[in-house]
């Protein structure tokens, strides 16, 4: 197993920040997920949250850390434990997206600026397989890796005050879905009728770090059908288990 050179810093009274090198890489993601799973497995009662980002894990404790060296030593030894149990399974998710101009507010602009016909934007965007790195910014906002370079497009200099729930956007070299209506600076290319975040579910967000996402183009008509099915609770997001 690869072992990375990690730094450990105390972050305020109650948190420890563990950092990998500043890169966006699937191998680092795997290492982070592995480490996180081990920490969760050991079920240390005083640990309240384990939050991962591209290159870090933040461990939040229930109260002030009395002895930082003891805690860091414990965490380091957990990292060294070999642990083949893959407790949490990862999935491929097919997310329906309607790229119709009704939803794709900024498709024209991206097309003109990047010199890519709209059809090709849709083909490229829906052709890629995206990796879920982590969730942040908003409840259920997935940070996805894998946007084709030709679709890179800078964030809007003036963010929109209202971006619709389900809006699929491009911001710089990133793509993602707004899980709820919010202000936003990303360029909108479509909309998905599915809910990225649902408080009434036992697991409010179906996706997690390490999962893969594919956007499946659907027509306006199909979009409405999926919307109707979701309303009556008759829609399950197509998914497939990822085998190692």
């Amino acid at each position: 197993m690869d072992s990375y050179n990690l730094t450990y810093k105390q972050y305020g009274e109650r948190a420890i920040l563990i950092e990998w090198s500043t890169k966006i890489e699937e191998n680092i993601l795997k290492d982070i997920i592995n480490y996180k799973n081990k920490i969760v497995y050991y079920n240390i009662k005083v640990i309240v949250e384990v939050i991962n980002t591209y290159n870090s894990l933040t461990i939040i404790y229930s109260s002030t850390i009395d002895n930082i060296y003891n805690e860091i030593t414990t965490l380091k030894s957990i990292y060294q434990e070999s642990f083949e149990q893959n407790l949490l399974k990862n999935y491929y998710w097919n997310i329906p997206v309607c790229y119709d101009e009704k939803f794709g507010l900024d498709l024209q602009e991206i097309s003109k600026s990047n010199q890519v016909p709209i059809d090709e934007i849709i083909e490229l965007h829906s052709g890629a397989i995206y990796t879920v790195f982590f969730i942040g910014f908003l409840p259920g906002f997935l940070y996805l890796g894998g946007l084709p370079e030709r679709l890179n497009f800078a964030r809007r200099s003036v963010p929109r005050l209202i971006v619709e729930k389900g809006a699929v956007g491009i911001g710089g070299s990133q793509t993602g879905v707004y899980p709820m209506q919010s202000a936003g600076g990303w360029n909108i290319i479509g909309n998905t009728p599915i809910s990225l975040f649902n408080v009434s579910k036992e697991n409010p967000c179906f996706a997690k770090s390490g999962d893969k996402i594919k956007f499946v183009p659907v027509s306006l008509e199909e979009y409405k059908q999926v919307e109707a099915k979701i309303e009556i609770g008759f829609y399950n997001i197509e998914n497939k288990l990822i085998h190692d």
């Binding site: 105390q10 305020g12 982590f134």
Partner: protein
């Protein structure tokens, strides 16, 4: 049961926060001034996580539909019950029909109204703390009926009045630790942080406080990483943002300082135009 006759500038239901969902991007929320909110519950011998009302800046009027016991802590927003001055930081018996009014701030800006047994609003993701997109309401509105447990208890079970250290509200020094990216700052920036006074701009809320005075830097933004309430971010423009309880779980600006827990509580009682200096204290 409390009926809201006038909602005030910004009133929400808060408890100790929504914990355990940060990995899904859910903010911690919870009372801004945990010291004052915990004090109110403690005086009533409530459970620590019993929900209270967080009343900001005043102009809030409530009528009690049943008998109960309350405690008012935190900012002094000129509370009166049926027109008479209500004592703070002590248990008060409330009778059916009593009207509790909050008018103008005398000191502090966030006041906590605790009630015996806590307010019984909906629990979403293990917390009653209001948050837009999580709880069905994100702000208390005129006409709302806020459920509570009726009680005809006497005051025997509650603690007698507790004297609060006024420094909590009057201090002009905010203690901080060095943040994860503190060492990226050049010498001049570090000196400026230590030396100057900072003013809270009018852009301040439960999500964060923006400060007026910029710190010149060439740091730019960084790879998105996690942030905590109390984290001070340095934006490329030089302006500082102090993240507070409703802040997002991740952010892309350098985290140069981190407020102590006590400082987050104290800053919560400050508002637009307030001035303070920063003192870096060692971690352990």
């Amino acid at each position: 049961m409390i009926k809201v006759l006038s909602s005030g500038f910004y009133t929400t239901v808060q408890d100790q926060g929504r914990h355990g969902y940060g990995e899904l991007g859910v903010p911690g929320s919870g009372a801004m001034d945990l010291y004052s909110s915990q004090l109110a519950n403690h005086i009533l011998r409530n459970r620590e996580n019993d929900a209270l009302l967080e009343i900001t800046l005043g102009k809030c009027k409530l009528i009690f539909e049943k008998q109960n016991i309350i405690c008012i802590s935190g900012a002094n927003l000129s509370p009166t019950i049926n027109g008479s001055i209500a004592p703070m930081n002590t248990a008060i018996i409330i009778n059916m029909g009593d009207i509790l009014n909050f008018d103008k701030p005398v000191f502090g800006i966030r006041c906590y109204l605790a009630i015996r047994g806590g307010f019984q609003t909906e629990v979403v993701l293990k917390s009653r703390s209001f948050y837009k997109g999580i709880t069905s309401q994100f702000q208390v509105q005129k006409g709302d009926v806020i459920p509570a447990i009726e009680t005809s208890e006497s005051l025997n079970r509650s603690l007698s009045s507790i004297k609060v250290d006024q420094e909590h509200f009057t201090t002009s020094v905010i203690e901080v630790y060095k943040g994860p990216e503190y060492d990226l700052l050049n010498k001049r920036a570090k000196e400026k942080l230590n030396k100057i006074n900072f003013t809270i701009s009018k852009e301040n809320s439960r999500m964060g406080y923006r400060l007026e005075e910029p710190i010149d830097n060439k740091l730019g933004s960084m790879l998105t990483s996690s942030v905590l309430p109390g984290t001070i971010q340095l934006t490329p423009s030089g302006k500082l943002i102090i993240l507070m309880r409703d802040c997002q779980v991740t952010g892309g600006y350098p985290r140069i300082l981190q407020l102590t827990e006590k400082s987050v509580n104290r800053l919560s009682q400050k508002s637009t135009g307030d001035v303070f200096s920063i003192r870096i204290v060692p971690l352990n």
